[in-house]
Symmetry: D2
Subunit: 309 residues, 4 copies
């Protein structure tokens, strides 16, 4: 067994024994039904070795982690024009804050807060029908993960659509500044559905591999983006990937990462590994409590921090 296998096993064991797991998100009713004891981890190193632990093959709702992939897709479609609609700075605010939008005239701070991701979704939609755009996003995820079984959890999507008033507020607010091109309902529909994509840690680690490997996935041979773009997406994940817990994640874990309220986190050790963890209990900033601890332990033991081994 390799060192990576050992460390992943250790971390999964430690997480199983953790008494305090945070609170499962309840703002989307469907998410509240998940088993709070679940924990999964999957790591793919530079050579393509896969190490897994816990519930690594259980699909979960990736939620905001989808924002990394929709950003990648949108940059491919519209290029740097995207940055006219969205900024690149940490927001210093919760994921669903609308204050910043008012202060900055409808331009979201970055693509990883809700408002920013809705603006990015609007750019992908760009005149198409919602189901066409959604099909494109889903196929992109299947392509990245090399797995055509990935689907959208329609119950989660429907649940979010029924209760997503805060996101509707954000979208209508941007629309009032003329910063959404499509009907608000279309953009929100696509947004709610891509957040409801269900994936396992194993699938997610595979899908994120191009970010760890300079834009290409060596397992599939797919070139996804130029190395420079992968690098820049990693930089955005580092500064903005965990809402108002981004500084803390950088401080403790030291890797670019993106969390979702479903409890998943995708993390990237550039040149070294693509990592997915999942545990549904969240801390007060909306990030997976055990997920962050697991990544802190893993990074520490593997010497993978980008800030100095």
């Amino acid at each position: 067994m390799s060192k990576l296998d050992d460390v992943v096993k250790e971390v999964a064991d430690e997480m199983r024994r953790m008494p305090e797991r945070g609170e499962v998100a309840t703002y989307i009713p469907e998410l509240a039904r998940v088993d709070p004891k679940a924990f999964g981890i999957a790591v793919i190193d530079a050579e393509g070795n896969v190490a897994v632990g816990g519930d690594a093959d259980t699909p979960f709702s990736i939620q905001s982690i989808s924002k990394v992939f929709t950003l990648t897709l949108a940059l491919g479609k519209v290029g740097d024009r995207l940055w006219k609609r969205v900024g690149r700075e940490p927001s210093g605010s919760p994921f669903n804050s609308i204050v910043q939008l008012e202060n900055e005239k409808g331009i979201p701070r970055n693509p990883f807060i809700n408002a920013g991701a809705i603006a990015v979704t609007d750019l992908i939609l760009s005149g198409h029908l919602p189901r066409e755009a959604l099909g494109e996003i889903l196929r992109f995820m299947q392509f990245l993960a090399d797995d055509s079984t990935i689907t959208i959890d329609q119950q989660v999507a429907a649940s979010e659509q029924r209760t997503g008033f805060r996101n509707a507020a954000l979208a209508n607010y941007m629309k009032s500044f003329g910063h959404l091109d499509n009907p608000v309902d279309f953009t929100l529909g696509v947004y709610f559905h891509h957040c409801a994509i269900a994936m396992s840690c194993r699938q997610l680690a595979m899908a994120g591999r191009f970010l760890a490997q300079f834009g290409s996935n060596p397992s599939t041979g797919h070139a996804v983006v130029q190395p420079e773009r992968a690098r820049r997406i990693n930089a955005l994940m580092l500064t903005c990937g965990h809402y108002d817990g981004s500084g803390e994640f950088a401080y403790r874990v030291g890797l670019p990462g993106k969390s979702g309220v479903g409890g998943g986190i995708l993390a990237v050790a550039p040149g070294k590994a693509s990592i997915a963890v999942w545990s549904p209990g969240l801390d007060t900033t909306g990030n997976s409590r055990l997920g962050q601890i697991a990544l802190e332990h893993l990074t520490h033991r593997m010497g993978w921090s980008i800030f100095g081994a």
Copy 2:
């Protein structure tokens, strides 16, 4: 000549020809007298090789770059207790904003905005007389840079003390919450003086070397901090080192760094190099315009980005 020598020379040449240099800071009258055409760069790699270009030996006012060193010193004195007085999140606000302080009851977001650095200075002062604390800070800088000629520019310090009303507002505001232990004038006096330390790029790159080399300076043999602490200071520089331009710096340069309104930037390529650049013209977020471009070129050509070469 090594690749590093070549690249540093190239970058210095390019910067000499740049037509647009930004605006020299005028809010401290003394700073406004600096030659806007100045540009310096110094890089020290893992082996201790030093490459310099331009005005690498001209001392300039390090201003907010001093915050990295006062944070290091304060952590050595009070440990993690420091984090009760200061947060670790990017602020999403300009360097001298007071809004965030009101919203968060007098606790600054991070140690690299003015309010946070004043709080850190107060912890260093901690019952001593201002000149004692200032002596300690100056000796620490001389020790790190292995150069006892480093001094404080008293004219800059006096100029700032006469006009630093915004910083006085921040300090009094924190004091009103009981979050400064010393008299406001004492804390501000030390703060204004350590910001007025004058150093050249060469001295600054040497002083920052412990951050690039896991806590120790191989040239001097001095162990400054534990590797973990160096890593964490680097993480803070990455997320918070350039005020509300921190996301942009991470996106374009991809290195931990700390800027000052004197036009200097200290950047760290963990395991690879300590870098100091200086050019007095600033962009709208208060960061050196040419300094950032020089670092972007250098990092790109050397493949030093922490987000993937």
Copy 3:
């Protein structure tokens, strides 16, 4: 001719000659078509004498002035329970600001900013169908003005419904806190339609008469509310009736009043007169430029300021 007749005639003449009329609201396309030169005034004194000037019989879109009447209606239906959903303080913010809503967890500052009026509309709707609630509001306006010809301008309502994204943001935002009982579309539909009621200055002065006459309209003999409630609605108009121009209106005019972006203002001189003015050009706070000046002149000459004749 009475003094009132003389003064009203004078004021109408002066307004006709005013060169600078402000900007007609364009955010609702239908409103932008109004003649910017229009000016009307109607005053009904305590004895029931009516003095009119200019375009006093031209109907205009009353817009936010409707908020005074929906507040009156809602207080009649739900009483002081209303104040659990809406505050009573000036907001210090523009009419459509959402920042205050986030800071105060979805409770609007007062019933005269958009968010507050939407919340009040939701209380009137309260389980009924939109057209039932709207019928009730319209009949209440006809009853107050003693004029069954008052109608809703369907083109303005449709125009607002197509473009009212900012109000949709406010409504969805409150809904996300559970502070709207009805479907967002229902509440907004009623809100947009009651803002689109068209009335002349003469009709409006009559409708507002109960506020000037201690709760009853002596012309019709209708008791509308208790004297105490009329007094309190007047107090709210004084402190909150002109958004972030409320202080200025109190300072210059010295009467309770409520403006609308259609250019109308209803003002109340308690015990003395009900006054309606209309001129479509607005100042930067969204209040009728000539309307305010006309009221300042009128109040001054009649000695009607509530702050000392």
Copy 4:
């Protein structure tokens, strides 16, 4: 005995029996020593009749009530130029908020929040020595109240000067925008001292009489300001006189008024009466709890509300 005498006696009796009195201000240590059971009231009607109840002759610290008089004095000295330094809108924020100052570039919203009153004090000081300016303010108070025994409580002033860090923050903040002409310490010194003026209800009601009587005090025969200016100061008191409790005071009491954290309130019934009440216990907005209730009862029974009897 007149009706006024009866009502004042009734109100004083009711207040003596009130079980819940709010919290005495502790932020200035000296203020915390006051007897929480104290209650005083003094009313002077249009004919000059004086009705008193409770501790009407006990001096208390007038604190922010002084802002009405410094505004009057400053308007006399610099006229409408004052409004370049201070706005006229309710702030929607607590008395010591600094957020609004940052959003509006160092211009306080109105002269009755702390920042605004400091700016007004700076205009009075205007090149003079602090003790000269303070002498002028004190003599103005003595002149208005026709009582040369009024003094400054030096212990309160000293106490505030030692602990007034929040006010020092506000003053330094405005100074950083160049909006204070004098040294910060000079302006703050005068401000702290005029807030520490001690007066009884009887003295205060006399001093405020010019506001109720169209600019002149009939008892002394002194013309203080033009009628229009008295009217406008009354308007400012109505919209801004009780910080973020101003709307509530207008709603419940219906008179222009100004409160202080010492527990006093000066209220004005234009043309009818000047009223001073005092009870040290405060509500959460920093306004005298019993003082407000007493004014509500008095106004109701006398039919003095400016919004309709």
